[in-house]
Every structure is written in structure tokens, then in C-alpha cells.
């Protein structure tokens, strides 16, 4: 949706997109069922399958259930997503806010938007019902805002109690993985706080690209750099598969 609008942040022989993809892939486990939005999330899921999680079951928006077959859109959304059977939903967005709400609908006012975005797709129900949500996106000030212009997919709404009040079964955002670091909801407030930075990234750089007063974990971690094997696998996947060249 967005193109890289400035040189990649990198302290090694990898790009910012490679760093975020590797970091996101590492959070996925073999045996989990996941559904991933197109773009960086889908790439991360595919990388995980080729690295450490060969038995990660990929469900995709066209209704494919791993290699087992394809179901129609009604069945995909009712039996598989809404039922809460999917462990991890990997999402992205044009905007995310302090409570992990995602916007893929409009920038600006709905009736007269500054930018019209593609819309919801399957994201609202993925965000509601998957056991946990991992958000994968590039960390830019215009994307990391205090309050999204439009809530397309609910994170924690306006605070910690919203999901329970709405009867949501899924756990909501577990972590937000960006090309600068990792944000996780503060257990006390559900506000996203910085828990890790990628190699070579400073806290001030992350704060400068975040539109709210970003809390930083006392135990701030530094992400392990991508290994040569991770990078080689990712690069073979990007160049070798038509899957990544479009929707």
C-alpha cells in the first residue's frame, strides 16, 4: 500500500523490509494456524514456513486452507475465522493507533476523504476472532497516529475494557512488528509500548516516527540481527515465487 519513502533503516546487509519480515516470521510457530493479509504479513508467514515452522497452516483470503483445499467465502469467514479456530491473524494498515486499532478505509473524513484506501476485506473479523493479532507494518509518523481516522479493524478500541464489552473472543493485538522495532500492549493500559528495537535503531528514532507519547519498556530488548540463512531464504522466496508479485 505504501512504498518505502526514505532510505531503509539498516545497520547491516539487510533492508528495513527484510528486518521487519524476519522479525515477524520469528513470532510464528509450527503447528499454528494463521491467516495473513497480503504484502508484508503474507511474506512473513511464508518465510516462517520455510525456516522454523514448516507445519504452520496458512489460510488465505481466497479461501485456501493450507494445501488441503479451498473453501468459499461464506465458509472461510463463518467456520474458520469467526469460530475462533485461527491462532494468529497477521494484519497491516495505512494507520495504527496507540490502542492498536487499524485503518485501511480512508485518511481524513469518511465523506470527503483525503485518501480513499481499499477498505476492510476480511480484517474486521480477523481482528475480532483470531486468538492473537500480529500487526506488521512500516514505522512512519503518518502511519503511527494517536487515533486512527477510521477504525476498520478493532485493536483495544478506546481502552482496556472495550474488547470484553463488545463480547470479542479473540485476544487482540499481541505485538506490532515494524521496521524499527516491536511494540506490545502494556498489560495495565493496553497502550502500545516499545519493547524491542532492531539492531542500529535508537529509541529516539522510534519516538520520532510515533504520533503518541511512546512508553518504553524497562527491559527494552534489541532484536537479533537477521541471520545469513534467514536473509537467503527470504530473498529466494521474493525472487522465486510469483506469489509476491501481486495480490
Amino acid at each position: 500500500m505504501t512504498t518505502l519513502d526514505r532510505p531503509p533503516t539498516s545497520s547491516g546487509p539487510w533492508t528495513a523490509d527484510e528486518m521487519v519480515t524476519v522479525a515477524a516470521a520469528r513470532t510464528l510457530r509450527s503447528g499454528q494456524a494463521c491467516i495473513a493479509a497480503d504484502g508484508l504479513p503474507a511474506r512473513a508467514a511464508d518465510l516462517a514456513r520455510r525456516l522454523h515452522a514448516p507445519d504452520l497452516l496458512r489460510i488465505d483470503g481466497s479461501g485456501r486452507i493450507g494445501d488441503l483445499g479451498t473453501v468459499g467465502a461464506p465458509e472461510l469467514h463463518a467456520y474458520w475465522i469467526q469460530s475462533g479456530r485461527i491462532d494468529v491473524g497477521l494484519l497491516s494498515g495505512a494507520q495504527i493507533d496507540v490502542f492498536g486499532n487499524l485503518n485501511t478505509t480512508v485518511l481524513g473524513d469518511y465523506a470527503e476523504p483525503d485518501v480513499r484506501l481499499p477498505g476492510a476485506g476480511s480484517a474486521p473479523e480477523i481482528a475480532a476472532s483470531c486468538r492473537e493479532i500480529v500487526v506488521v507494518m512500516r514505522h512512519r509518523l503518518r502511519a503511527f497516529v494517536e487515533r486512527v481516522d477510521f477504525v476498520t479493524a478493532l485493536g483495544f478500541g478506546t481502552g482496556q475494557l472495550d474488547r470484553a464489552l463488545l463480547g470479542m473472543r479473540g485476544g487482540g493485538p499481541r505485538r506490532v512488528i515494524t521496521d524499527l522495532g516491536v511494540l506490545e500492549p502494556d498489560p495495565a493500559t493496553s497502550e502500545l509500548a516499545l519493547t524491542a528495537v532492531h539492531p542500529g535503531v535508537g529509541v529516539e528514532q522510534v519516538r520520532a516516527e510515533t504520533g503518541w507519547t511512546l512508553e518504553v519498556s524497562d527491559d527494552l530488548l534489541v532484536t537479533d540481527p537477521p541471520t545469513p540463512h534467514e536473509l537467503a531464504t527470504l530473498r529466494s522466496l521474493v525472487t522465486g515465487s510469483p506469489e509476491w508479485q501481486g495480490r
Binding site: 500500500m1 497480503d38 504484502g39 483470503g61 481466497s62 479461501g63 485456501r64 483445499g69 479451498t70 473453501v71 468459499g72 467465502a73 461464506p74 465458509e75 472461510l76 469467514h77 463463518a78 475465522i81 469467526q82 478505509t105 469518511y110 480513499r116 481499499p118 477498505g119 476492510a120 476485506g121 476480511s122 480484517a123 474486521p124 473479523e125 475480532a128 476472532s129 477510521f150 477504525v151 476498520t152 479493524a153 478493532l154 478500541g157 472495550d162 474488547r163 463488545l166 463480547g167 470479542m168 473472543r169 510469483p242 508479485q245 501481486g246 495480490r247
Partner: protein
């Protein structure tokens, strides 16, 4: 029973000005040939219903056929923008465009309700999002058994549904390639339906893993070989070709789009 008729006659007969027209199938087996007939016949004031609005939707809106779009996702190939739709929304060119916006889950539930003869569908959806605030066909309903509040979406019963499939037999039974998408539901929800097919055969052959739509549930079948081009026709996951991706350049510019439109109208 479905009648087997030439494509132009089928579209002329089934698609009327002002109709609610569902066009389904994605990312392959998209009924482009039928949509281009709609453009050639200069149908207007249509409500286009399509879960994933893509190049086909951009073409129908740019051609001035649709005044309303009911959808749950709208984007061009490779996550690009749909410039004809953006132009219609932003500048009313060539005509103003209204939108009714859902999630995929909501649209699927609406088709299922319509195909089932129910007035609404129910789902755990939309909660906490801003969509219901702008979409009147989303409301809430209380479960009579548990008291839980759930999303209710009004049934979709389009005037006509158009889909593309691999083959039909001479009686008008249609073999849909796999159960992907909402093609079956759209046909069964609509008052009238048109299925365009790659080939018409004596025997549909083994239907393992495929879905058969019986002739009695379809209004018309039209033989349209290559009728899904430039989307793929080999199967539900076939790739689009390069001309599909080149749409961005055509769509970006009104004059260039106008030349494309002339080409479609003068075959």
C-alpha cells in the same frame, strides 16, 4: 431451466438500466466479456455489487454504467489505486458514485441470506469498527437464546448476478471450479442470473472437488471462450496477465481511458 444464448443477447435481456447487478469471481474467472457487453450496451444507473472491486469495477464505473457500488474491498492490481473509481468519488466524473461499504464476512453473510430466502444474515462482525456508522445495511440483533448482541446484515437479492465458469453442459448445468469466492451464492441469491462459460460440452465429467450449479437455478448460460481475460481462466488461483497489471496506466488518465472505452465499444 437455463437457456443457452449468445452473450450479447443474454446481457441485453438480463441487465437493465437501474438494476442491482452482482458480478462475482476473483482473482481469476472474472466475467470480463459480460461486463464489456454491459459497457457496449451503455447500461446506466446500475448498482454494482462485488466483494472485491478491481479492474472490472473500475471499468464499469469509468464507463458511467454504475452509480452505486456495494463492496468490501476495492483496489487495483499490485495494491494500486483504482483511478476511475477515485475520480468518480472525488470529482463525480463521469458521474457521482455512491458507496455502500462492508467487510468480506458481512458481504458473504448477505449473499448467504439472500440465497437462503432469509431477510438478514447474522455474524460476529463489525463490532467496534466505524463501518456500521456509515453503512445502513449493518445493524445489530439480540440473540433470543443467549441475549448476545450480534451484527445483522440485510440480505442481498440482486436483480441479476453474473459469473464466469469453466464449462456447462447442453442442458445448462454449470460446473464451477471449486467453491472459492461467492459465485454460487450470488447466482442463488439473484432474481436472474447469467453464467458465461469457457466451453459447452456434452458431459460435465467428474465433478470431484467442484460445485455444480443445476440448470434450473440459472436463467441463462452464454458461451464466452476467453471470457475471463485478462484474468486467468485455468482455475480459481490462476494469475492475471500483464495487460491486467497495465490497467493502472490506462485508468490514471481520463483521455487514455476514453480511448480504451472507444475500443471496447467498437469491437
Amino acid at each position: 431451466m437455463a437457456t443457452i444464448v449468445p452473450l450479447t443477447d443474454a446481457v441485453a435481456d438480463l441487465v437493465r438500466d437501474g438494476d442491482v447487478v452482482a458480478v462475482e469471481g476473483t482473482p481469476a474467472l472474472i466475467p470480463y466479456a459480460a461486463a464489456h457487453e454491459v459497457i457496449r450496451l451503455r447500461r446506466k444507473d446500475l448498482t454494482l455489487v462485488r466483494m472485491s472491486v478491481d479492474v472490472l469495477g473500475d471499468q464499469l464505473v469509468g464507463a458511467g454504467c454504475a452509480r452505486r457500488l456495494v463492496f468490501s474491498w476495492a483496489g487495483g492490481p499490485g495494491e494500486g489505486a483504482l483511478h476511475r473509481i477515485q475520480d468518480a468519488l472525488g470529482h463525480g466524473w463521469p458521474a457521482p458514485l455512491e458507496i455502500e461499504e462492508h467487510s468480506h464476512a458481512g458481504m458473504a453473510a448477505r449473499y448467504v441470506a439472500g440465497a437462503s430466502g432469509l431477510p438478514f444474515g447474522v455474524l460476529r462482525g463489525y463490532a467496534g469498527t466505524d463501518l456500521p456508522q456509515y453503512t445502513a445495511s449493518v445493524r445489530t440483533v439480540r440473540c433470543p437464546f443467549t441475549g448476545e448482541e450480534l451484527a445483522a446484515v440485510s440480505a442481498l437479492n440482486p436483480d441479476v448476478a453474473i459469473v464466469h465458469a469453466r464449462r456447462a453442459d447442453r442442458s445448462g448445468n454449470v460446473l464451477l471450479d471449486g467453491p472459492g469466492g461467492v459465485c454460487k451464492e450470488a447466482v442463488l441469491a439473484a432474481h436472474r442470473s447469467l453464467v458465461t462459460v469457457e466451453e459447452i460440452v456434452d458431459d460435465l465429467g467428474p465433478a470431484t472437488g467442484a460445485t455444480v450449479l443445476p440448470s434450473f437455478a440459472i436463467t441463462a448460460v452464454a458461451h464466452a471462450p476467453g471470457g475471463a481475460a485478462p484474468s486467468g481462466a485455468a482455475g480459481p488461483h490462476d494469475r492475471e496477465d500483464d495487460s491486467h497489471r497495465a490497467w493502472d496506466e490506462v485508468s490514471r488518465d481520463r483521455a487514455r481511458f476514453g480511448r480504451w472505452l472507444e475500443g471496447i465499444r467498437t469491437p
